[in-house]
Subunit: 355 residues, 2 copies
């Protein structure tokens, strides 16, 4: 792969206040770009001033949705290092997603090098306040200007960076979830296992109705075939602790293979907790709740790391989990994972990568 | 709605040769744009020189796929009028799609007016050779620059135009279709009934494999639940003529409500042919073929109008339909619909609209 050309911005933006960063609202001074054409393959890797992309209105991404993305964070560690968490997994996953969407793969080592190079250029943008981080959004879009349903001959791979505030400002906060019988996120044979924009577009209406009609902050998606088996929560993987055992939906082709999911399974097993990856139905969860065996429910994802679920609303039944407070297992997973990410817990797993 | 501001291009492009237009490759001198913000609603409708869209790399369309589109054609009629075919249906459908994808609706009369105004500006671009037309692509994309899975507060509605050659240069040509057991286009509860980019992204890999591995030019999609019932062919609706009756999959939430589909049903019924909109399984079709009752199969869509299917390949079975030649019913539908579109057949249905 060619070296990365760097063109520095001549006018740097003022950095936003760390107290009010929010999520995905501010973007740094530079971005990484690389082009693909059928003739040249991936070429012209460059870091340039952050600014608008000029795209022909016929660019295929607008019409046929050929696009994939990733999400991860850079953390300023307690000893002032810059740490990434398992970026090799994001590299693998973007290629997995690209395969499903007929986008050409990127060299995985180069993907990580591109992240690292951009983050080094933007190191001053990584916030230092407790719980803050620099969110990293790599994405690929089809840029050929042609109508007609087929794979594009041209793509743009971009990485943008956004400093983000603490997800939880006052400790973990359980959320209330709407179990959706009506909308379906994805089905086997579709694109649910790929991180592609269409999956998210399809989830918006259910999310909105869950909020407006049921005062729930997220949706729990059921499978599209029997409308019975648990898939994901919002855009997170989901775990259920029932009578001492932790259960999470198996990778069945319609759910995303989360990197936090994988790390959580790893840690739980190390701690001697039995983890099953298998089909689990909403009925089984309701029964466990009735029997007093549903101990904890939590989502896992890059943004929240661990998102405890305090209540489920399904078919007019409202169940409360662990009295609506964060369970011990959720808390320990959160503390351990964020501990590793911020360099407070020794990384004996080799999960962190320095920039 | 505000009047449409028109800013003419000072340098017009040379028009491409009508013999070699192809599809979706050339774009005209101007495009229609209109912005939406939560504060102002839809505003600033304008026709401006065709050129790149400048979009922040964080624009939501790139990440969460919030977008919808339409497709229709302007025809130069035999008496030198410019005709549109049922544009009110496209206006209705873009709003139907937008509702599913949480995009604000557009005034339907204004949608048609915008098409007409742009086409009048670009009238010289409508080709006149037999079978040619001006393809019209209205689309809406989410333009707010923010990461975070939610509906955008900003959108762009655009219309671009592309002169297109005859779909069939030497008369209708039956295609061979691969019946896909592996990939699924859409499922009930998902977005299959909306014209949104994600549906097309999800179809690319199956289409590519059908071509490369089975020498089939399109995929016949089965339902995602039982993998048994017919959904669509490629990006067309599909019809089966069995023992004198015409059957097409019912509008079940996972297939697109095609405007050509609707027109075909209307014409067939007028001609006294019984049309059923119902579930139809691939087994039923294979049985009909075995019994010598499968008379015709054809796809319907804006691009091809009628696309006769000459063969189906399913589970290593290769069946030939009507000896691989275009059936009488397919041909009559094609001749009538294109006849109406080009003003050769008197439009007693009120389907054509002048520009």
């Amino acid at each position: 792969m060619n070296p990365i050309r760097i063109e520095k911005s001549t006018q740097l933006k003022p950095k936003p206040e760390q107290q009010s960063l929010g999520f995905g609202k501010h973007f740094t001074d530079h971005m990484f770009l690389m082009d693909y054409s059928s003739d040249e393959g991936w070429h012209d890797a460059r870091i340039v001033p952050y600014g608008p992309l000029e795209l022909d209105p016929a660019s295929m991404v607008f019409h046929y949705g050929q696009a994939v993305f990733e999400g991860l964070k850079a953390y300023r560690s307690v000893d002032e290092q810059i740490l990434l968490f398992r970026p090799d997994k994001n590299a693998q996953r973007i290629n997995h997603s690209s395969t499903r969407i007929s986008i050409p793969p990127i060299d995985e080592a180069f993907f990580v090098e591109a992240l690292q190079t951009l983050i080094r250029v933007e190191a001053d943008w990584i916030p230092s306040m407790e719980g803050t981080s620099l969110y990293i959004r790599p994405f690929i879009i089809a840029t050929e200007a042609a109508l007609g349903v087929r794979s594009s001959d041209h793509y743009l791979f971009a990485i943008i960076l956004s400093p983000g505030g603490a997800y939880y400002e006052e400790g973990l906060k359980p959320i209330r979830i709407f179990v959706d019988n009506h909308y379906v996120r994805a089905v086997q044979g579709g694109t649910g296992h790929a991180k592609t924009p269409g999956n998210y577009a399809s989830s918006l209406k259910g999310q909105m109705e869950a909020k407006e009609q049921h005062n729930c902050s997220q949706v729990l998606w059921l499978d599209g075939i029997e409308r019975t088996y648990i898939e994901e929560v919002g855009s997170m993987n989901v775990f259920f602790k029932i009578n001492g055992e932790v259960i999470t939906p198996e990778l069945n082709g319609s759910i995303l293979e989360g990197i936090t999911r994988n790390s959580v399974i790893h840690l739980l097993r190390e701690w001697g907790i039995h983890v099953s990856e298998r089909k689990i139905s909403i009925d089984e969860i309701m029964r466990a709740s009735d029997d007093g065996l549903l101990e904890e429910v939590f989502g896992t994802g890059t943004a929240a790391v661990i998102s405890p679920v305090g209540g489920l609303f399904w078919n007019n039944r409202d169940i409360v989990i662990n009295e609506g407070i964060t369970g011990a297992c959720s808390q320990k997973l959160y503390d351990t994972l964020t501990g590793i990410q911020y360099g407070k817990v020794q990384d004996k797993w080799g999960w962190t990568v320095k920039c």
